[in-house]
Symmetry: C2
Subunit: 531 residues, 2 copies
């Protein structure tokens, strides 16, 4: 594909490699989605100045530490908006989260962070800076599927590796079973990972699951009658366990997984993470660490965290969250002890909203909807960024931020923005101004919420449009919410907000036009064994 | 009515008038509901010691200021749980509430404050310390009804007046049209008040209402075709306007009400409130001030508060909340300037959850349900207590607290606990230990939620039972929620929580037994004109 826009983009890239003249305009080299492209043009001068200021701060920091900043991205699993103390949850829901709350309080808490509505899609979005639908994988992957993260996609780990970073991944990978999809082949020097969530391993482990249930309910769907081996044999689908991969050296299975050993894997991850941080702190190269924690979707929990004072001590979700919170403490303490907290950006976000089907072992949200839906409860997640000395503590920000933005920000921090490919649309937006200059400095005023292949909802400033299936006699079939006035999406009648239809249609049109110019990657799908 | 329990209670009162022997046991003189009676017996020693410690602190404060502490109770109107900044609302919902948030941060924020599910019932509960059903009025009153706050009820204003307090009331009275129900005849030295909410005055004022609507919606129910005078003439129902009453001198109407003049009345209230505080600060007697603010249920708003930055500047609810927040600033500043903030307890709570029927001019809650319902959204409200030097700042508390508790606490602070009548059940519980010693020191572990005459839900520790109408073939027809795990009441299936049925039945049984011993007051109801 080579069209006018692309060749223009190529010329633009060529020009901006003359840094003395165009300096901070480098930030504009890659291909954004249409609305951001427009915003970049409209705000070119102001943003260039702001970027130059930020570059100066980054340069000063680099001078002090003698290397680029370290970056740690942490993903929670199904942690809902309203579950952590900083979102009116915590002790209110029976599980205090003092360390996650401390991380939020020591930095900037996002009030409007958005992920994709489910597990695989969010991981793809974080890794590629793109809506998963563009990458050819728009679904949650199941064992044995041949789809996965295409080698032609450029991951944040590849970018940062190319920029001289140590790169490591821990936890739930879940973007493809096969070796080409694996983290050690997608930019990570080292990875200690599992391919799926906890639930899947519980299929074969129902006794342990039932035993771990609380007084509040019973498990009701892990009903495969037999062991993991029975399952694999019966259906010819291999379910890989805990894997360890090293760039250029392949991977090996280091443990079979059960719901108990999932817990063990999480416990080993934090040990490995601390060791990685301690080691790399001494290196003359910075590091990028991606920790896709299994908390809180395992079907078991570590005994030592089950005794939360006063409540549901046998509830796995609660114990897993308590465990994760304590691991966060260990991680932050390690950064401090290694003397690198002022040179390390840590961002924590959840991958999607709660999965109520797992109740009472489920996350929770104040918002309407759940994992899998594009109502706020599915896509708006807790999140915060901490970087002592760079991010002012004690802030909250309403600015929209997407998990795709993490890709661009990492590239920007690492000085690797030029390496972002310009032959595809990058949905991520540089949100460093939001992080470093606070609320109101976000550069995103729209969101496209996909449900599989379908554009299911669109955010435009404070309004959100849900696109419903089917016709309505020629009228648009939609709900429109003012998310500021109505964050719980209770009042979506279109007729009282007809004014918004045309502006939304124009926004969607520009997005679809861009897809025509840069079509989605196509991946032959498959539901076959990877054995 | 004179039964065994009552006569025992009488003897008990007699005994405890010997303060040297029984000291802090005085706190137990009045007749609580059955579960608290049991708790008082079980905790007699520990609570007596705690009460003695608190008495010592109060005595020290009295020595310093030369009088008892002042008490200010403020009621919001339909302000939902989730609407203020301290409940993850504020700027997130488009209306920052910096002063209400500051009040919360400077004291103790209640995470589990409960009101009655609607307007009149909550006002009655606050004034009498009793569930309204016991007082003979269990409904929201409409103009022309002859029911109201029975003269035989003892109000917090009567108690405090008897204990030497100046007493004043401002705002929405709404517990009866007739003179015997009026604040100046129910213990208040002075009252500047209206009988109803804003909506009712908008019946005759629809043009102004429609003009004030936002882009987000239109008014849809204020459809009486005509003026207030037309309405009164047609139906023979007199709707009183703004009233001014003085103890022993009756009342007079000082203004007819329209939705605009409601706003005016609110603006005049804060001026009068500030003057009252300034005057009484110099008195050698303490004061009790009850401000039942009209915010945020008026159908208009003051122009100067309509321009909230960035959002919905024409939305009345938003402007009213901004106005109220600013008035709170003025009130707190006045206390400070008068040098009495350390001798003044201020408690702010809302009267019930949001009334979505008024959308887009409605309050908002993160919780399920709305005003009128006993789901959490109807009865759990924001609330906080501030008392510099006495209440540690920066606290939040999960402890259950009921609006009825405010009655008992005021009596306790004023040294008027002995004057609480013991011939009736007082639902309020002394929660001064919670206020003064923090989370975990609350003395309430149950709540009875009434819907009109019906006991509709019961809270027991962290569980809540909803009693549903009709039979279920002999099985109890109920929903049971773990409110800690599931504050949004999403998972109420009874069958997974069968263990809780019997304990709940026992709790309800003890409550009903107490009603047999102390039957509800009976008031001849009437839907006739008071003209």
């Amino acid at each position: 594909m080579m069209n006018k826009r692309q060749s223009l983009s190529g010329i633009f890239q060529l020009i901006v490699t003359a840094p003395l003249v165009f300096g901070s305009v480098v930030a504009s080299a890659y291909q954004p989605d249409a609305p951001h492209e427009k915003a970049r043009q409209a705000n070119a001068k102001a943003w260039a100045k702001q970027d130059a200021d930020i570059d100066a701060r980054l340069a000063k920091l680099e001078e002090r530490f003698g290397k680029k900043p370290n970056i740690i991205y942490i993903l929670g699993d199904d942690v809902g908006w309203g579950e952590l103390g900083s979102y009116l949850g915590g002790k209110l829901r029976g599980t205090p989260t003092p360390n996650l709350d401390r991380m939020a309080a020591e930095g900037l808490q996002f009030l409007s962070h958005y992920a994709e509505p489910s597990c695989t899609p969010t991981r793809l979005a974080l890794l590629t800076g793109r809506h998963p639908v563009r990458t050819g994988v728009d679904i949650v992957l199941w064992p044995g599927q041949k789809q996965g993260l295409a080698p032609a996609e450029v991951t944040v780990a590849e970018l940062l590796s190319g920029a001289g970073y140590h790169t490591a991944m821990f936890g739930k990978w879940h973007v493809g079973d096969l070796e080409p999809h694996a983290p050690e082949n997608q930019g990570f020097d080292y990875a200690y990972y599992g391919l799926y969530n906890g639930a899947i391993y519980s299929w074969a482990n129902q006794d342990a699951f039932y035993k771990s249930q609380t007084l509040d309910g019973v498990g009701h769907f892990y009903d495969f009658p037999g062991t993991l081996a029975d399952y694999e044999k019966k259906y010819g689908i291999k379910i890989l366990g805990a894997l360890e991969g090293r760039k250029g050296r392949g991977r090996r299975e280091v443990a079979r997984l059960t719901s108990e050993s999932m817990v063990e894997m999480e416990a080993r991850s934090i040990i490995k993470i601390k060791r990685f941080i301690q080691d790399k702190a001494k290196s003359d190269k910075p590091f990028f660490l991606y920790w896709a924690s299994y908390a809180q979707q395992m079907a078991s929990s570590p005994r030592e965290y089950r005794f939360n004072e006063g409540l549901d001590y046998r509830n796995n979700q609660s114990a897993e969250l308590a465990q994760h919170d304590d691991y966060i403490r260990q991680l932050l303490d390690t950064l401090k002890q290694a003397g690198i907290e002022e040179n390390t950006l840590v961002i924590w976000v959840s991958d999607n909203g709660p999965m109520y089907a797992f109740w009472p072992n489920a996350g929770y949200s104040w918002l309407r909807g759940e994992k899998g839906e594009v109502y706020e409860g599915g896509v708006r997640t807790p999140g915060f960024a901490r970087w002592p000395g760079m991010i002012e503590p004690g802030q909250t920000a309403l600015d929209l931020i997407s998990v795709t933005d993490l890709f661009v920000m990492a590239a920007r921090i690492a000085g690797a923005e030029d390496a972002i490919p310009s032959d595809r649309v990058i949905d991520g937006i540089n949100q460093l101004p939001l992080l470093l200059e606070g609320e109101g400095n976000g550069r995103r005023n729209y969101l496209f919420h996909y449900s599989g292949k379908d554009l299911a909802a669109v955010r435009m400033d404070e309004h959100k449009l849900h696109i419903k299936q089917g016709s309505r006699g020629g009228l648009p079939n939609m709900e429109i919410y003012n998310i500021t006035r109505d964050p719980g999406e209770k009042f979506g009648a279109m007729y009282s907000q007809l004014w918004a239809v045309a502006p939304f249609q124009r926004l969607i049109g520009s997005h679809k036009q861009k897809i025509q110019e840069f079509p989605h990657r196509e991946i032959r799908s498959g539901l076959f064994s990877n054995k």
